[in-house]
């Protein structure tokens, strides 16, 4: 476990060094003020952390985490029920299939109108998008569970309702985590979009604001912060993955 963690840390270190190198080379080569060197970006980051970059970072983090949590809280139960109860699925699946492909982002003006310019509208938009990804994955994971597994559980004298907690949920968790990882990219992208409109808080706003003020080093400080946010989310998911689905990580 310890060894694995340090190997992982080394992996991140190498990746960071590699990206630094590419960035450095590109910046020198292009020589445009639109792409500052890493040093300039880091200096700006350190300077801005004295200011309010940290606050923007936490606002964005809070929004993403809350949205992901809400998506899980709604998506997983609905997915479990739809996967296990064909009658419910027959009613809800068409609804999901019709609404899922519609780009929810187009509703942003409406959402802003109804929920205001604060956290609520951003959280709602991200949740609306990620919820579907979690729901569909969970439902399909449930459908993959062999009937024998459920039969053997029922033969122990379990009630039908207990199947949810003892079979469907644990069996679909690995797929839920995959969906979570994929949704992470989506949610950060949507967050950026939502924060670049009519708001004064969050990394999206920070980046767009730096851009409009033609301060590329500050803009890249914001981009770095967004990268850190993304990595932190992935690490958090990996940790939860190890805690909640330990059985997938044992040595065979």
């Amino acid at each position: 476990m310890h060894q694995k963690a340090s190997a992982q840390a080394r992996g991140y270190l190498w990746a960071a060094l590699f990206l630094w190198l590419v960035w450095e080379l590109a910046a020198r080569r292009l020589g445009t003020p639109m792409l500052p060197t890493p040093e300039m970006a880091f200096t700006a980051t350190l300077r801005l952390l004295q200011g309010n970059l940290g606050e923007h970072f936490w606002v964005s983090t809070y929004r993403v985490l809350l949205s992901m949590t809400l998506s899980l809280l709604f998506g997983v139960p609905f997915g479990l029920v739809m996967g296990f109860e064909p009658k419910v699925d027959r009613v809800l699946a068409p609804l999901v299939y019709i609404t899922y492909p519609i780009p929810k982002i187009v509703f942003l003006p409406l959402i802003l109108l109804l929920l205001g310019l604060g956290d609520q509208s951003k959280v709602f938009l991200i949740t609306l998008i990620v919820f579907f990804q979690i729901l569909v994955t969970t439902r399909d994971a449930v459908r993959k569970i062999p009937l024998e597994t459920i039969s053997s559980f029922l033969s122990l004298g379990a009630k039908r309702i207990q199947v949810y907690r003892y079979v469907l949920l644990p069996a679909s968790l690995p797929d839920v985590f995959t969906a979570l990882r994929l949704s992470m990219g989506t949610s950060v992208a949507v967050l950026f979009f939502a924060e670049s409109f009519a708001t004064t808080k969050g990394l999206g706003y920070f980046i767009m604001d730096a851009w409009s003020r033609s301060a590329p080093d500050e803009m890249f400080a914001g981009i770095l912060a967004m990268g850190v946010l993304g990595v932190a989310l992935f690490i958090l998911t990996d940790v939860m993955d190890h805690v909640f689905i330990r059985w997938q990580h044992v040595q065979r």
């Binding site: 062999p146 053997s152 122990l156 044992v250």
Partner: protein
């Protein structure tokens, strides 16, 4: 103990229904050890599901101890062909699952689970997950889980089919020992003729489409010491084999 009366089972949509059973009858008495053998797809698993209360026959009924079976029964243990264990639970958690879902008091459970794990030789792997076990260990876990519920009826669907010859024989002895211990009725499905003759006091040879009992072989010597090495054992195997072959022509 078990009465299967006039059972019919059909699978599939109306129009292209396949009759697996038609007016099928069978009775098993208390304490008996019955083995079913027959060609793949003839309906052995289906019959066990009906006896376990997991599948309703299209017609007819199953009674156990005079009571019609409408759902899984508390005292019936069922060991499936595959997928019976939960990969996300440790050995110990798998074994105590039946007790947990029945909300039985915990301390009593723990000592019972410990005793059974010890008896099955699973104490050293109690914290392992099924993916870390050998096939033989896995089947012992499945058996242990059924035994925690003090079953009076054990239904087993090819429990030993995935094992190597020696492990298989060891587990056959274990099954025998469990069965001989008390008044446990057991119904076992197997594709192995030797296993059928070694374990079954009565052997049902089944045929297909729809399933019928081709022959019943009385085999009261099953379970006696050294039976496997006797001439009688060998002759019974030959007899069962020819009955099976006869059914396929």
């Amino acid at each position: 103990m078990i009465q299967v009366s006039h059972c019919s089972v059909a699978y599939g949509e109306p129009g292209e229904r396949v009759m697996v059973y038609e007016n099928f009858n069978l009775s098993v008495s208390r304490g008996e050890s019955l083995v079913m053998i027959g060609p793949s797809g003839c309906g052995k698993t289906t019959l066990l599901y009906i006896m376990a209360g997991l599948l309703k026959p299209t017609e007819g009924e199953v009674q156990i101890d005079g009571k019609t079976i409408l759902g899984p029964r508390k005292e019936t243990g069922f060991i499936l062909q595959e997928y019976g264990l939960f990969p996300w639970l440790t050995v110990e958690e798998n074994v105590s699952l039946g007790l947990r879902v029945r909300h039985l008091p915990r301390p009593a459970n723990r000592s019972k689970v410990n005793a059974i794990l010890g008896e099955m030789g699973l104490l050293s792997v109690r914290r392992h997950y099924p993916s870390q076990l050998s096939g033989g260990q896995r089947q012992r876990v499945a058996l242990a889980r059924a035994l925690t519920l003090d079953p009076d009826l054990l239904l087993m669907d090819e429990p030993l089919s995935a094992l190597d010859a020696l492990t298989r024989e060891r587990l056959q002895l274990l099954l025998l020992e469990i069965w001989q211990r008390g008044d446990l009725t057991s119904v076992l499905v197997t594709h192995s003729i030797e296993e059928a003759v070694f374990l079954g006091q009565r052997i049902l040879v089944l045929g297909a489409n729809p399933a019928i009992v081709l022959a019943e072989v009385e085999n009261p010597e099953a379970g006696s010491a050294g039976y496997r090495q006797t001439r009688l054992f060998y002759e019974r195997c030959t007899q069962v084999r020819s009955l099976l072959e006869g059914g396929q022509t």
